[in-house]
Symmetry: C3
Subunit: 285 residues, 3 copies
């Protein structure tokens, strides 16, 4: 059995192999997971992620027990996470777990008799998001992921998405990072990669960017640093660059840019489906 | 790709063809939609409609991502309806959309890369309800839908169901309407069909009725015009007439009438399943 | 058609036959219920039970319409339970019903055109729980269920689980019961089986026990009689005994005991899946 708790658990070979399979497969269906059952155990809601796993499982011929509703699942909240996981492990072949408390997924993996996939735990990781982010770059860059100029903008301090992706990209040689944010939301000093340039102004770096990774300012964290890139700014991007966003967006990117060939943020979701299909087949079949 | 936003979009030929297929098919299963995925995207709850689409999809061999819970789906409410729809379109083959705001479904259809089926948007349409209402008449009237005396009773002012069905029935020659309601809830003057008779007393028309379409008074709209047809009144209906109701009923029809051969309101749901099976196959396969 | 409302409805032969099939089948899949649809109609939440039926249905090749959310399903609460059941019966092949009001399931069965399985109604029965409890004993006792010393501990007054299991076990000869509880939570006098011994101290009986059935004290009932069995106490159990618990547990059994070969409370859930698979096939196919 093989859990997926962190991108750190995955060797480079494994990741490249998974990405190659994702490219071979694209939107194709299979029945590889016929009669197999996935439990979507979401202690906090994430329609996007849970739906993506749901769809990936079904496209491999399997089925999903959706436990998505916090209020509802609180019915078994009286019991420990471990007991709930041991219970669901008796009736399904894999558990995708999202939990608000950091470290919960590792606790679950300790007791589970079926593989656990981490779908985000608090300040911890959300490895399939990182996988699909990396894949988006790989797929749109002739299947390479090195020697790139990556510009990241938004709240770089609080989001786990950015930190995990930086860690992944730092494995490959020649990647350079531009971090664009107000000072209060800057990338954590202790995790800064070697080739990093920090600025508060996107215009300083946008024209020298291969990958623009845009994140929203999470207003639930009390910040009022909302921002919107203008069409004019986005048009400073090189023709072959790509624009990514983990979604949901608030106002960071104007809708008018959605049909630009550089806009890849909805394709990201589609690629995510491919990656999760390969991953589920690999883990469960 | 083909959206279904309004009954007006459907030509008579198309409707008759769909109904004929529904009759051929009845409760039979198929695997026509194997590995295909429908998203049930319900911004307001409707267990009846969402379950009917769910069942229809499964009976054609497909699967459904159920996003039914307002509270839960509000998690991605921060994002625009368009972004949510574009996201779900990357991971499913069709979206059934119910939304409380009139016009939302058209907005969704503008951006979606997969077909959208309108399952009700505010004061707007709910075309599959109209399709199944029309089919119920067609199927129980020797596959004809003209030259009928249709009596509609209840809140004729506020419900979209009645207005849409009247519009559909008015396409066919010889249909006569009796509208029975208190004055405050009368059928909107501007939409009155040619052959209409308005009254406040059901006894004036019930014995001259081929189709009795009963609707509940929606007490959430503040009206206190609840009413109950008695068994005696219902027995004034001709032997070959039929009684319909879009459900849920409150007290309009007594339970004792449920086993009367003229009672078709639960069959309506079954017919609805047949119609939706044909429609999903037609749109997705 | 065959409803399952009460264990009393099931003859001994039927139960043994079902259990034998469950043993033959174990975790194997089938497509016996391909294209068949189960409605999980839960008016009060029970993730464990609804998930178990979900998984059982899928492992037989079928699908499930999950109506799990009280808040959400209240949308059709305006209508009577009977109307909701008649509606869902038009679009599915079987209904699993959980309802907080005793007697509701019998009312539903009266009108339903498809089989109803009682998944718990108020103070009433939850027959598949009793079936899986009985099966756990049968399977771990060389396929016999007589001449056993059964010790039940916890709230014996309020739980339906204990009462139903005692009724089932009393059908077979030679079974002896030890009931361990504080006086306020003792087994109801009027239902006491013949061979019963009542005590407030587990240590009086634990070493003379073949089956230890542990239940939690339901604190929502205002009781403060929480208790915890210690590892030392549990080690007084004979080597060949088994420990059961309907779950969720609070603090009754220490986690350290979970890997003891006598601990069967998670296996119980797995056995429950087998029993429900056989039952669904028997009722629907």
């Amino acid at each position: 059995m093989q859990h997926l708790l962190s991108v750190d658990d995955m060797k480079e070979n494994y990741i490249f192999d998974l990405w190659s399979k994702a490219i071979d497969q694209k939107d194709n269906y299979s029945n590889a997971l016929k009669n197999k059952i996935l439990t979507n155990l979401f202690y906090e809601p994430s329609t996007r992620t849970s739906s993506s796993f749901y769809s990936a499982m079904v496209r491999q011929g399997g089925s999903v027990i959706p436990i998505n509703n916090v209020k509802f699942s609180s019915a078994i909240k009286g019991e420990s996470l471990e007991d709930t996981v041991m219970t669901m492990a008796t009736m399904s072949d894999c558990i995708v777990l999202r939990h608000p408390v950091t470290g919960s997924v590792a606790k679950a993996a300790n007791v589970s008799k079926v593989p656990i996939i981490n779908a985000g735990d608090g300040e911890g990781e959300h490895p399939t998001q990182t996988l699909l982010d990396g894949f988006t770059i790989f797929y749109n860059n002739n299947e390479k992921i090195d020697n790139l100029r990556i510009t990241m903008i938004g709240d770089l301090r609080n989001g786990r998405t950015v930190k995990s992706l930086v860690k992944l990209l730092s494995r490959y040689s020649g990647n350079h990072f531009n971090f664009v944010s107000p000072k209060e939301l800057s990338f954590p000093k202790e995790s800064l990669p070697k080739n990093a340039f920090e600025t508060t102004k996107i215009n300083n770096v946008i024209s020298e960017t291969d990958v623009l990774y845009v994140t929203r300012v999470q207003t639930e964290r009390g910040s009022d640093h909302k921002y919107s890139l203008s069409l004019e700014q986005l048009n400073l991007l090189p023709k072959k660059s790509i624009v990514m966003h983990p979604l949901p967006r608030v106002s960071e990117i104007p809708r008018e840019f959605d049909n630009d060939p550089r806009a890849k943020y909805f394709d990201q979701m589609r690629y995510g489906l491919w990656c999760r299909m390969v991953l589920l087949k690999d883990i469960i079949a």
